[in-house]
């Protein structure tokens, strides 16, 4: 799913909104772009 499609779904008031969040996370995880940040460290 493309990010623009995810954003469109996120604009729904229904479950698609949460599902879009799940899809965003999964897409980022698959792409290897999720960054772990220790709490207490300064964000990038």
């Amino acid at each position: 799913m493309r990010s623009s499609e995810i954003k469109e779904k996120a604009h729904s008031g229904k479950a698609e909104r949460l599902n879009a969040a799940l899809a965003l996370y999964k897409a980022a995880k698959d792409a290897g772009t999720v960054r772990r940040v220790p709490i207490g460290a300064q964000p990038a």
């Binding site: 949460l18 879009a20 799940l22 996370y25 897409a27 940040v37 207490g40 460290a41």
Partner: protein, 163 residues
């Protein structure tokens, strides 16, 4: 008594327009949840204008929408979210576990506030989960004194703006 554990790190997820969503993993007994924070500036909150109309003012900058779902749903991505009761290895949360989950969401939001310049939160129940509105309301009443924010019910009680 339910056991609550919070991860000691966040996961930052790049979004559109150079912003980042944040996922924080917490556990209540056998239930692992992801608390998802998304900056309103990312433009994902469909109700933003409606909420601002009801408030009669703009939401502050650096305000985050809060959602939560089972972490396994985040890991699985589409087709979509599930509830614990649909998983034979989990079952439904009992009252103590529900309250511990709320405690976890509250503590997580404090950790985010220490980590980021957070000026407020918005929580809106999904149309399919109308009981979430009263659940958020109960949590906010419980933690009202510790929040340090004002609480504004919006969208006929299905959501709250907190800043």
């Amino acid at each position: 008594m339910a056991t609550l554990q919070l991860d000691e790190d966040f996961e930052e997820i790049p979004l559109l327009d150079d912003t980042c969503g944040i996922l924080h993993t917490i556990r209540v007994d056998q239930f692992e949840y992801g608390i998802w924070y998304i900056p309103l500036s990312a433009g994902f909150l469909a109700h933003k204008e409606q909420i601002e109309d009801q408030l009669g003012r703009k939401l502050p900058a650096n305000c985050y929408e809060v959602k939560f779902a089972l972490k396994r749903d985040f890991d699985g991505g589409v087709p979509g979210y599930t509830t614990p009761g649909t998983h034979p290895d989990l079952g439904c949360l009992n009252y103590r576990q529900m309250m511990a989950l709320g405690d976890g969401i509250f503590r997580s939001s404090w950790m985010l506030r220490r980590h980021r310049d957070v000026r407020g939160f918005v929580a809106v129940a999904l149309e399919e989960r109308p009981k979430l509105g009263p659940y958020y309301g109960r949590l906010l009443r419980t933690y009202r004194e510790q929040l340090g924010y004002s609480i504004y019910p919006v969208l006929e009680g299905s959501g709250y703006a907190i800043f």
